[in-house]
Amino acid sequence: MLAFTIRRLVQAILVMLVVALISFTLFRFVGDPVNQMVGVETTPEQREALRERLGLNDPMLTQFGRFIINAAQFDFGTSYQFRQPVAELIGRRLPATLELSIVSAIFALFVGIPMGVYTGLHRDSILSKLFLSISLIGISLPTFFIGILLIFLFSVTLQWLPSFGRGDVVQLGWWSTGLLTWGGIKALILPAITLGLFQMTLIMRLVRSEMLEVIRTDYIKFARARGLRQRSVNFRHALKNTLVPVITITGLQLGSIIAFAIITETVFQWPGMGLLFLQSVQNVDIPIMAAYLMLIAFLFVTINLIVDLLYFQVDPRLRAERATH
């Protein structure tokens, strides 16, 4: 176990180092950082002084080392377009993205699992076929088009829900939340559904296929033979055994939900990190791009690591498999 943990940890650190190298290369070589910071009338001497002060004349390895040390302290420099520290900008946008991502993950779980259980238990019912067709359409529709359809239906035609922004936000310290006001919740509904729909179909299909497998096993037959009630067999015995992969996949998907929030945030003009990142791509604001890349990579690597270690704990077969290698 310890050896496995250390090996995975080393791998995770290696991945982070590679990503840091990419970020550093972006930051250092794509466009000249000094040119971005000073005005047109700056003299070459002043430029050179700034260059020296920023340490851009040091050996590359020193610069890379400094970049990593700074990044570890959330110091990603100053945004070219906003002239503010990148960490501050991202920190201010973080709550919006996290709230959206978590709410849509919860939506995906709480709608996807029951639908999956139902379609798994009643394979041939009409409702199951309907659910499956919906899920196929959900996978084929691009996220942005789902968002537009929802806006067209609920904001333009029915005028029930707002189509952009976060609504009323309450500040709790540095965290701004839209969950405490009615307006904030109303503004959250459409973006959360848009973002969660794809994950929902994924979870539904996963639970369905797991359920189909589990209900064929002997212990389910035995539970039935003992005369347990159908509901108890389905939920206490069958569903429980399908949940391990579901939780794993949801965990792994959390990272991509946050990344895919870029699209949803653009459609709904949601003031989160994704929108900030897209604007930084359009305006070639390299420090924000580099920081966002590092942040997403860190999230992915951490989630992957936790999931791997949990899996190792939960599933004894994995341990045996590793031992035979």
């Binding site: 196929l136 691009p142 942005f144 990344a259 870029i262």
Partner: protein, 322 residues
């Protein structure tokens, strides 16, 4: 057989000869029978084919040329589609804010969407298959390096990689030049995130094939490794590649549309389906829903049809694949 030709075109055959008789084998096998049995598959094949033909012959089929500035008139702007009040019989699905025919726009847009999709899958396929072959056949350090790169890359969603590539391209070329190269930048950035799946699959099958007798025999008579890979191993690992290519075609079209919608893909001067939705999105609230909805629906139908074909092909070719 319409579908056979469609499939042949999609197949990302890298520099190497196609095994003789492949077409004959496909036509003769269970695949054709399973194709004819499934109504959904036939329907999606027809839909896909209609899109291909519409896109390929857009200049001849489309009633208007939306890019010919001389033929469009601002007086025709925002005309609703046929069946609504104030419609104009010249414009089947209405016009956009500049008086461009939405139906013609969709035909021309599908042309670009499909082109980006095909080329990026082809590019990703060639690179992925070659790297997978090399990783699987050579093994050792080369294998480890290629697979580590693949793993790091899998850490990031395709959209994110494509956005980064676009940002770098903007910084390197400047905005004007970027628009000129937008098409190729897009193909490259999508291919960059799709090659991994090809490489992994091909590597897996190559590892199996490598130890078979025919490969050993080829090695024994002194055929150079590269020729063994391309001539002997490749034909035996190409089946799953075909499936991945079809499924990835749908994904690539979605990715292209998403990037264009976000405003970092194809510029509005030569709009793809995603760009058309982006243009129409601004008019959703003023009641001109058709500008965004028709291109969006066309995109959804196209991707759905391609995905259904991919699903069917996966089951038909290899039920064990994933």
């Amino acid at each position: 057989m319409p579908i056979a030709t469609g499939e042949e075109a999609k197949e990302p055959v890298p520099a190497g000869p196609v095994p003789r008789g492949m077409l004959a084998r496909i036509l003769d096998s269970d695949i054709l029978h399973s194709f004819l049995r499934s109504k959904v598959t036939i329907a999606s094949a027809i839909v896909t084919l209609v899109f291909f033909i519409g896109a390929a012959f857009a200049p001849w089929i489309a009633p208007h040329n939306p890019f010919d500035l001389a033929s469009i008139s601002i007086l025709d702007a925002r005309v609703p589609p046929i069946g609504m009040d104030y419609h104009d019989p010249r414009f089947l699905l209405g016009t956009d804010d500049q008086g461009r025919d939405v139906f013609s726009g969709i035909l021309y847009g599908a042309r670009i969407s499909l082109a980006v999709g095909f080329l990026s899958v082809l590019f990703a396929g060639v690179v992925g298959v070659l790297l997978g072959l090399i990783a699987g056949y050579v093994g050792g350090k080369v294998d480890a390096i290629i697979m580590r790169i693949a793993e790091v890359q899998l850490t990031f969603p395709a959209i994110l990689i494509a956005l980064l590539v676009d940002g770098v391209a903007r910084a390197l070329f400047g905005n004007l030049d970027r628009e000129r190269f937008a098409f190729w930048i897009l193909v490259f950035s999508i291919a960059l995130s799709f090659w991994v799946q090809f490489a992994r699959t091909v590597r897996g099958s190559t590892l199996v094939e490598r130890n078979k007798e025919y490969v050993q025999a080829a090695r024994l008579i002194g055929i150079p490794p590269f020729l063994i890979m391309v001539r002997h191993v490749l034909p035996n690992v190409i089946g799953p590649v075909l499936v991945i290519a079809t499924i990835n075609l749908g994904l690539a079209i979605i990715t292209e549309a998403t990037l264009s919608f976000l405003g970092v893909g194809i510029p509005p001067t030569q709009p793809s389906l995603g760009t058309l939705v982006r243009i129409g999105n601004d008019f959703l609230f003023s009641g001109e829903w058709w500008i965004a909805m028709f291109p969006g629906c066309a995109l959804a139908v196209l991707v759905l049809a391609v995905n259904l074909l991919g699903d069917w092909l996966r089951d038909a070719l290899n039920p064990k694949l994933r």
